[in-house]
């Protein structure tokens, strides 16, 4: 029995170690640091609109390097923002299939709760959708999760057991419930906002 729990622990730790380097800190001059998720190896970072409110921004990688970042897109309604840094070969997290997720499945979140860098928390999916009880009206594509998000988790990744990115952690709904923007909404946001900009779907052009 203990060996099964030990395997589970080892796998959880391994899965978290695999994605940790794709989590960054997003800082501005005014508020505490939020988190960000590396989307493209050439320096495209996704975070929450409420994290990237007012520049100038700095992005700190897990290897200690710090870059100044440009805000290239921001969507208040979806609570998403895209930042670009002058860096290459950054580690990304493979986007997963949100539609295949079911309530009960295990996911974990990485961020900087209360400023603790790259901290992990895990739990299961409670449900999805746009009409969940504590859900702000008029928003779509949310994942509601039974885990402990805290200030500093915003913008960090929500990852499934295959180590794939399924969402961007966004909101705290009570002490034990977190809400993430689905990775599908992130894709849509990037497609719409980056295609409006010249030379679009890669951050290298910025």
């Amino acid at each position: 029995m203990a060996s099964l729990l030990q395997s589970l622990n080892a796998e959880l730790a391994g899965a978290i170690a695999n994605v940790r380097n794709s989590v960054v800190q997003v800082r501005d001059r005014w508020s505490g640091a939020g988190a960000g998720t590396i989307w493209h190896p050439d320096g495209l970072i996704v975070t929450n609109a409420h994290v990237a409110r007012r520049g100038p921004f700095e992005v700190a990688l897990s290897d200690g390097r710090v870059f100044s970042a440009h805000l290239i897109a921001r969507d208040e309604r979806r609570d998403l923002a895209a930042l670009a840094v002058q860096a290459h070969d950054l580690p990304t997290i493979q986007p997963g299939n949100v539609r295949a997720l079911q309530p009960g499945q295990w996911v974990f979140a990485i961020g900087h709760p209360w400023g603790i860098a790259n901290a992990a928390t895990g739990g299961i999916i409670i449900g999805f959708g746009s009409h969940l009880p504590e859900h702000p009206a008029g928003r779509h594509d949310w994942i509601v999760v039974d885990l402990h998000l805290r200030p500093g988790n915003s913008g960090g990744p929500l990852v499934d057991t295959a180590g794939q990115l399924v969402g961007v952690n966004t909101m705290i709904s009570g002490p034990n419930v977190g809400i993430a923007v689905s990775v599908e909404a992130v894709k849509l946001f990037l497609r719409q906002s980056l295609s409006a900009a010249p030379a679009a779907d890669s951050a290298t052009a910025v």
Binding site: L4, S7, L8, E11, L12, G14, A15, Q102, P103, G104, Q105, W106, G123, I124, I125, I126, G127, F128, G129, H131, L132, P133, E134, V144, D146, D160, T161, A162, G163, G174, N176, V177
Partner: protein, 298 residues
């Protein structure tokens, strides 16, 4: 790569799907709908009393997405359970877990259907103890506490074991701030009584009382600090027929000390109805013992 973790994750999701076949939505209050559990194939639903705020115009959302009107069969506020009936057949009744299969530390899911789809949270069994009484005097066969998050609308939904069996029904109203599960044995008993009689019979004395501090000598003699001062005795009630008077201080009923209202409610279970039991009172500074035949609440 992550074999155990992925298997665990998928098994949890499979448990939610299996459990969901016996979980319904209960629309019985103005705000957030809550959850209920299918008791029988022919339309009996068990839910939490506190989520059914009205007696009529109750709706039940079935796992297949259909919505049917439901009748209130009965409710027991003391155990926070209610029984509903919908006019249909072919439902999937819950599989109940035997009480002795639960252990502290077991993984469990709280599940509910406050919306169309089934939803779930995960936790462990935190505490398992013996029988206890709710504040309203209801007898609960076992104390089952978990650390599952009771998401809005989860009351009335099941606590689901790793074997997809229902260990009981969750209520966030029995003890505020704690996730408490009403065990299957209690549900069986209360649902049986509600289906048979439409109500739960409870013992009845016919008094109003308030706790008072006892004089030091009496407190030492009785080994209790407080008793219940009778501030009203109903005419032609079991209390009056047994000789209880306004101004008596109730000390014990059937040799169980009565220190506050919870103690009194606890001794007025249905098992004592019709029995003459010794009732100790403090009257004129003296402890006296009367025989009172416990009545049944109408």
């Amino acid at each position: 790569m992550s074999t155990v973790l992925e298997s665990l994750s998928n098994e949890l999701a499979a448990v939610v799907v299996a459990a969901g076949a016996s979980i319904v939505r209960v629309e019985g209050r103005r705000r957030q709908a809550a959850s209920g559990v299918i008791w029988s194939e022919d339309g009996i639903i068990i839910t939490a009393h506190h989520v059914v705020e009205r007696d009529e115009n109750i709706g039940v959302g079935l796992p297949d997405g259909s919505r049917l009107p439901a009748q209130l069969v009965g409710r027991d506020p003391s155990t926070d359970l209610a029984v509903l009936r919908v006019g249909t057949n072919g439902l999937t009744p819950a599989k109940w877990a035997a009480g002795d299969t639960l252990r502290v530390g077991h993984l469990v899911l709280a599940a509910g259907r406050p919306e169309e789809q089934v939803q779930a949270t995960l936790g462990v069994i935190s505490a398992l103890e013996g029988e206890w009484r709710t504040r309203a005097g209801g007898a609960i066969d076992a104390y089952v506490q978990t650390d599952v998050v009771m998401y809005p609308g989860f009351s009335g939904g099941p606590l689901v074991s790793a074997a997809s069996e229902f260990a009981g029904i969750n209520s966030s109203a029995l003890l505020r701030g704690l996730s408490i599960t009403i065990p299957a044995a209690t549900i069986q008993r209360v649902a049986g009584a509600l289906l048979a009689h439409g109500k739960i019979t409870r013992g009845f004395l016919g008094v109003s009382a308030q706790p008072v501090r006892l004089p030091a000598a009496i407190a030492a003699q009785m080994a209790q600090e407080t008793g219940l001062l009778l501030v009203a005795v109903e005419g032609d009630s079991p209390a009056e027929r047994g000789g209880l008077l306004l101004g008596d201080t109730l000390l014990s009923v059937d040799d169980a000390p009565v220190r506050h209202m919870d103690d009194l409610l606890a001794v007025l279970g249905s098992d004592r109805i019709g029995r003459a039991v010794p009732v100790r009172v403090l009257r004129g500074g003296q402890v006296q013992t009367l025989q009172v035949t416990i009545g049944a609440r109408a």
